[in-house]
Structure formats: structure tokens, C-alpha cells
Amino acid sequence: MQDATAAALEVRDLDIAYRVRGRDRQVIRGLSFRIGRGETFGLVGESGCGKSTVALAVTRYLPNNGRVRAGGIRIAGEDALAMDAAALRRLRTRSISMVYQDPGRALNPSIRVGQQVAEVFEIAGVPASERMDRAEAMLERVRIVDAGRVMSRYPHQLSGGMLQRVVIAMALAVDPTLLILDEPTTALDATVEAEVLDLIETLRAEMGSSVLFIGHNLAVISRMCARVGVLYAGTLVEEGPTRDVFAGPRHPYTVGLLRCLPQAGLSKHKTRLDTIPGFLPTSLAGIRGCVFAERCGLAQDICRAEEPPLIPVSEGRLSRCHFHEQAPDLPRSTPPAPLANRQKTQAFRPVVRAAGIGKTFGSPTAPIYALRDISIEIWPGETLGLVGESGSGKTTLAKLLLGLTAPDPDGVIELNGQKLAPVATKRQPAELEALQIVFQNPDAALNRSQTIRRIISRPMRKLGGYRGGKLATKLTELMSHIRLAERYLPMRPRQLSGGLKQRVAIARAFAGDPRIVVCDEPTSALDVSVQAAILNLLADLQAEQGVSYLFVSHDLRVVRYISDRIAVLYLGRLMEIGPAEAVFLGPHHPYTESLMAASASEEAGGSLRLKGEIPSAMRPPSGCVFHTRCPRKIGAICEEQEPALIQREGDHAIRCHLERDQLGRADARP
């Protein structure tokens, strides 16, 4: 039976393979780690490293083609791999619980939420008369306001943040020995993420469960976990106390990963981001030496011949590197200096000017205000960052400028002072050429049945007017600009990795001579090491060609790194716009302040929290649309009268009733 002194989870020499097309493909190799009672352990790695497979193996829910080939998993002292069906069910009932990445799909769509929570108590043997009350109490415990009402809802009637609370309530209902969190906040907005992380932290401290936290976000892991293991290509490459590992990494992969992050204070004007060259190995089968050797700047012959063991580097720290002492001095893979700005032109007017544009969806009787009365200018060679929670209207604004959605009739969009037709299909070829886009998801953005050559050369022909030999020359030139090898030209998108696909999408946007490129979350589907390379590329192209960007992103660090100016949207209203550093450092709008607090809380829990969810655009709040959630609300005036967007200093404008010295500042926070 359970051993109260044994480790909550002990994984030893785990080796997992999936059988694909008749062949075994190894995904986890020789993985060992241990989570003590009450300990929080993070397993971090980029997509494809096998971290989710670990969660599936621990819960014994590997797909049918997956198999544990060797090694052992012990949960609270019991051998999980040897359990029969009954023991396994007992284990799942009492000892382990799991919180999933996508709460919307983790709950049964046709059963009321209350019943789904109550079911956990049923399995635990709670008498029928008490189950619903216990379920309601549990929902209250995860800070669901009005739990009684939520109980009778179906999952599709609740928001993502709310659903994740329900899943957490189910997971913690029986006080498990081990709580597995598999990317629990990846699908949520930063503001909601902050709340959910707070909640998990508090409840865990109360209940004393051990935690296996699986994630790709280094900041979140470092906040939530005492110890961390870094997983690369199915192999644990480094392990130790989170703070030590992230402050002084001792494996070249960890070092590279941390350098890819756009840290606060970095900017495209000062430093290029470092990247990790190369790709994940396609197969682990043929690798005799270190799995990272192919991409490592420190690799010697021994690295390719002999796999390093996990070497103790200091108290409680392990690194799987022959040269772990040199790891911090890993040479950069990209030169640090940004490209010199070749196109320094004196600009007299903005490239794009939008005046009073808006977008109303729905019917005249039930209008949905996605965007109201927005006026912005984008100047040559600059990047305007666009931030806000989902539902704030970021993507709608981008689509209006591009003409993919027709704006409400009274707004005006100008390109170089010329009024643009409201929809793209009515615009002139030269106008189309000037305004291009890079989408978030390259899989949807590239036609999967066409070759890369075709995807890139068609817009060259249509927009740039290139033909024949000139087209071939220009294609070669563009490919080298985008740092895309010509051997990819005959391939189709599915043969490329995510980062390469996004390069193709960028190449397509630059096929003509764009003056402004809308970047709609271009790196949010990518791993950090790939993200760094894409951000560098965008910065280089801007320096070389003087193009402007409208950069839409929910990641404030990325926006801060890449943007010259920043615009903040909330519920379809422009709340603040100004130079990037001014917006970040403040004084800034209370909403901007809350966003930044939420972003910072990934690293450390903060005090400033946005309460509740973004209101419905069908019934936006009266007065200032933000007053329902504003941490600095003054009083009745906020509810009755919408403040004007007032220029505070220089070209920094804020829509708030507060005086300048009453607004929050970044340096004023602890």
C-alpha cells in the first residue's frame, strides 16, 4: 500500500517509444527524476521534447501506439507500471490528479459543471446527499463567485478562466498526493493566467500536494516551482533548484534558451537576440553522443561520441554536459549588434493614418461593438505595438487596415495621404503591395497544396510585376534576405518546421515592396528559440528596407523589445498610445498597469490584479469602459462620463480621468 514517506513521484530510466508506421520512434530516453512530498517540480522544454508524454505515462494514459520500453514509475512508493485495472483506478482516485492545457475540452460538453465536480466525490465514496454540497464548497474554494449558479451551467457557457478553475476544483477535490499540471495557463489570457497561478499557488500551499508542473514558459515555471528539470529531445539535460538553474544555467541548451528571451530593457535598437541554431534531431535512434551536440557551440569530438551522464555540478544540481563549467560562456550564435539602419529618411507624413474607424458586428437591433472610433498613425520605419487582452479588438483593427473586413462607413483609412477603399478587393495593386500581413498560424496562412516557390513567386508576379529572369533573380535575393535556403523552394509547407514556415510567410509579405506589414501574433505559435530568430529577422528587414510594422501581440516582453510606439486597446477602445518606453515606465493607464502587473506576476506574484473578465462587447459599460475592473477607479465620474484620450507629454496620450501624478508608474511598484 501507500508509503507516506516515499517520494510522491519517482521516475527511473524511463524509455518511451511510439510506434509509427511500423517503426518504433523513441520520444523519452533514460529519464529519471524524483519529486519529494510537498515539493513542486517543473519540467520545462520546447514543443517536441516529450514533456506531455511524461504526463501521459505517469497517469498511465499513453495512446495505444505508445509503450514504456524500459524504466519505472513509482507513485507514493507504488509501482505504477505494474498495476492492474483496479489498482490503477484506486491510484487515479486517490493519489494523482491532473489539470490540462485546454479546459474547454477537458470537461464533458453535455453534463452540467456541478455534476462533473460532484462525480469526483462520488468516486471517493461520499454519500449521495452530500456530493452536491461538497462540489459547491469546492467551487467556492477555487474562488468562483456565485458557485451555486455556475453548478448548473454547461461548460460552453463559461469562460476559459472559469473552466480552468472548475478543472482545478475537480483535481484538488480529493486532496491528491501528486498534482500534475500540464500547461495549465497556456490557453488563457495573461490577466486570467495571473489569477489562476495565484489560485494554484495558494491551494497547493494549503493542501500540501506535490506538483509536477509541465510547461514551456520559463517565467511561469520559475515562479511556480522550487526545482526544475530541463528536457531536450526526450532527455533530461539539467536539473536543480529553479532559481539557481535560471540564474546560472550549466547546460548549453538552458543557456541558449534563456538568451532567446527578450528580457526587459532589451530593445531591437540595442541588441539582437541570441538564438539556438539548427533543429531538433529527427530521430533519437542514431545518436550515440550528446543529443544537443549538433546545435551546441561548445561541442567537441567527445560530445558526438559519448553521451555525458548527469554530472553533479553543485549541491542538488545536475547537468548532462561534458563541459558544464564552460556552459555559461557559450558563444553567441548571432552577432549582438543590430543592423545599421540603412533607410534613414525624414518622414513628413505617416504611411498609414486611420481616423475614426470602427467596426460593429451583429444586427442593428443587437450591435456588437468590436472597435469604436479609433485613430492611429503609423510612421515610416517604425513599429507600432498593439496590446490588449483577447476580445480587445487587436486583430479586428489589423483586419480593418488591411481591408479584410470592411470598417463602419464613417471612418477613413489613408495610405501615404491617399484615401483607401474599405475592402482589399477594391484596392489598387500598388496599395495592396504596400500593405501586407504575417499571420499568427503559418499552417493556415500557407496553402498546403502549393510549393514554397509558388507561394512566394505568385505575389512577386502579382504585386511586384516581376516576370521570367527578373523574377528568378528577385526570388534568390529575397530568399537570402529571409535567410531561407533555396533547397526549400520545391518543398511544401508540411515538410518545414514551424519557424521555417513563418519565414516563408514573411517572404510572401515581402514579395513586393511593402511599406507596412501587419504582424498578427507572428511568434505566439512558436518556441522561444524560434521566436528569437523571427524577431531578429523582422528587425533586420526593418533596418534594411525601412518598412513599418503594426505588431499585434499579447506578450508584453516581445512587444517591448520590437516596438517603437505602443497602443493599448480595451474592449474596442484605444486607452493609451505613446512611445514604448514611456508606456512601459509610466505614468500609464490603469489598464496598461494591470496588464504589466499580470505579465510580471508570471515571475512573482503581484498585488495588482484585474478582477473578473472582460465584459461583453454587446453591452459595454457606460462611461469609461474599463471602470468595472479598474483598480484605480475614482467614483461616479468613471461610470458616467468617458474620459477623452488626452496628450499628456510629447505624443503620449492616455484615456483616463486621473491626473498625471495619480497614474501608476513601473518604478513605483515593489
Binding site: 517536441g48 495505444n64 505508445g66 529527427t282 482589399a424 493556415a444 496562412a445
Partner: protein, 306 residues
């Protein structure tokens, strides 16, 4: 879905087959994908059996008259209704015609009419589906309503109505089945187009000023080919089904063709008298052909879906 069921099972139910993909970036080349698909097809027993049956009947339809022992139309009034024996493998009918020869040759008409109807249906349906799916809005609403109304009637009834009104001929059969299939294929294509047209590559095409026809036929069409292909093979099965049924009702292929459905309806009255062979072999022929076509369709579908 060719996951093997491992003993000592991990979970008591088929779990999601998570792709171990990202660890193994898909570096397949297009030709290797195609080769893999062909290999998968050839490894699927239903597909192989189906294709062999289909091929057999196609060969019979083309070369049958050259290899049969008797002329299918030759009567022999001295040898009527003889049971199967060595000189008449499947026996003879009431006119003394050799049933074996008639079964072999009888594949011809149905294998001309049914594929032509299918082809017409696929072409009409693809165009209809592309237009309604891409245009959306009022065009789509109107056409969809009309299609709904048509599909409220079973195909056989529509065919009966039109054939009664216009008179019986193979052309009428092809046109009425083809156009009806066009509506059904159109629905399938429309659904596929609807899920394509919201993808960003369409927006990208609009942003370089492509015309709607280009977007429909050059950008979207290749991506909706797999469902069209599956639908076509499935439709071929139905076409054979429907043509055979019409012929049985006397509204399809007309005498003196040795067509199977027609022959069954002519000889049906004889089975009460114990002359089972005058019907059974035609029935088996139809059965084998439709099952063959549908096994083929099933194979194509499972490979394209994988």
C-alpha cells in the same frame, strides 16, 4: 487508425493517438507521402479485394463478347430453362440463351451509364460546392434551400418522375442521376470549402488582388480534392445501385440488353417454378460489383483520412 493494441494495456480504452511528431519533424517529401499512401492502400485487404472485383468486371465489359462461349443474344428453343451444367455453366433462360454469357456481357451497359452519371455529378457538384461555399450569403442560402427541397425526395423517386415525364433512355438516366448527385456532391464540397475559406491563405490571396475564380479553382480546389475523390468513389457505388434498381423497375436500361437488373425483372416470375438459376447469377453479379466498388471506396477513404 492503425494503432496496434498493446497487451497489458495502458488504458482500458483507445486513447488519442498523440503525434510524437514534433520530435520527428515531418521531413517526408511529397512523393514519399504519395508512395506511403499507395503502400497503405495495397496493404489494405478490403481495397485490394474491391479493386480486383472492379477490374474483373471492367475487363469483362470490354472484352467479354470475345471470350464468352455463346453469343448472349442467341436463342436456342430446344434448350430452354436447362439447369446449370457443363455446357451451360449457369444454365439457360426461357429462350434458351446462355446465362453465363449474358452475365459476363451484361456488365457493359451499367458500367457505361453509372460512371458517366458519376462523372457528371462530380463535375457539377464541384462547381456548385465551390460557388456556394465561397460566395456564402444570399446565393448560398437560395441554392441551399433548393438543394434541400430536392434532397427531400429519394433519388429513385426523382429519377422515376423525370424518366416518366421525359421518356426512357440511357441519356435521361445519366442526366437525372448525374444532376441529383451534383447536388449531393455539392454539399460535401461546400462543407469542405467553408472550412477552407476562413483560413488565412485565402486572406493572403485577397491581399494580393486575386480574383474569386482564381481563389476558388486554383487556391481552394486542390485542398478539397481528397473529399471530392472519396465522394466520387462512394457515388459510383450509388450510381450502380440506382441504375440497377431502375433497370429492375423497367425504367433504366432497355431490352435487348443482357443487363443484370433488367434480366432479373424479366426472369423474376420464373423462380416460383424452381428456375432459380435464371435470377441468382445476375443477382450475384450485381452484388459483387457494388460490394467491389464500395470496398474500393472504403479503402480510398481510410487512406485519405489517415
Amino acid at each position: 487508425m492503425s494503432a496496434s493494441v498493446t497487451p497489458g494495456t495502458e488504458t482500458p480504452m483507445p486513447a488519442a493517438s498523440e503525434q510524437p511528431a514534433a520530435a520527428v519533424p515531418a521531413l517526408d517529401t511529397p512523393s514519399s507521402i504519395r508512395r506511403d499512401r499507395v503502400k497503405l492502400l495495397l496493404r489494405s485487404p478490403p481495397f485490394v479485394v474491391g479493386v480486383l472485383i472492379l477490374l474483373f468486371w471492367v475487363v469483362m465489359a470490354i472484352f467479354g463478347p470475345l471470350i464468352v462461349p455463346y453469343n448472349a443474344d442467341d436463342t436456342d428453343l430446344l434448350n430452354t430453362l436447362t439447369p446449370p451444367a457443363f455446357d451451360h455453366l449457369f444454365g439457360t433462360d426461357q429462350f434458351g440463351r446462355d446465362i453465363f454469357s449474358r452475365v459476363i456481357v451484361g456488365s457493359r451497359d451499367i458500367l457505361i451509364v453509372a460512371p458517366l452519371a458519376t462523372l457528371l455529378g462530380t463535375v457539377v457538384g464541384t462547381i456548385l460546392g465551390l460557388i456556394t461555399g465561397y460566395a456564402r450569403g444570399i446565393t448560398d442560402d437560395i441554392i441551399s434551400r433548393i438543394v434541400d427541397a430536392f434532397l427531400a425526395l429519394p433519388l429513385l423517386i426523382i429519377a422515376m418522375l423525370v424518366i416518366t415525364a421525359l421518356g426512357i433512355s440511357n441519356t435521361t438516366v445519366i442526366v437525372v442521376i448525374g444532376l441529383s448527385f451534383g447536388l449531393i456532391v455539392g454539399r460535401t464540397v461546400r462543407a469542405a470549402v467553408l472550412s477552407e475559406r476562413d483560413l488565412d491563405y485565402i486572406a493572403a490571396a485577397n491581399l494580393r488582388g486575386e480574383k474569386p475564380l482564381y481563389i476558388m479553382f486554383v487556391e481552394i480546389l486542390p485542398n478539397v480534392m481528397p473529399p471530392i475523390l472519396v465522394e466520387t468513389t462512394v457515388r459510383l457505388g450509388y450510381a450502380i445501385f440506382t441504375v440497377a434498381s431502375l433497370s429492375f423497375l423497367g425504367l433504366g436500361i432497355q431490352p435487348p440488353s443482357p443487363d443484370w437488373g433488367l434480366s432479373i425483372s424479366q426472369n423474376y416470375g420464373l423462380i416460383g417454378g424452381g428456375f432459380w438459376w435464371t435470377v441468382l447469377f445476375y443477382a450475384l453479379a450485381i452484388g459483387s460489383l457494388v460490394v467491389g466498388v464500395n470496398l474500393t471506396a472504403e479503402g480510398v477513404q481510410s487512406v485519405l483520412d489517415a
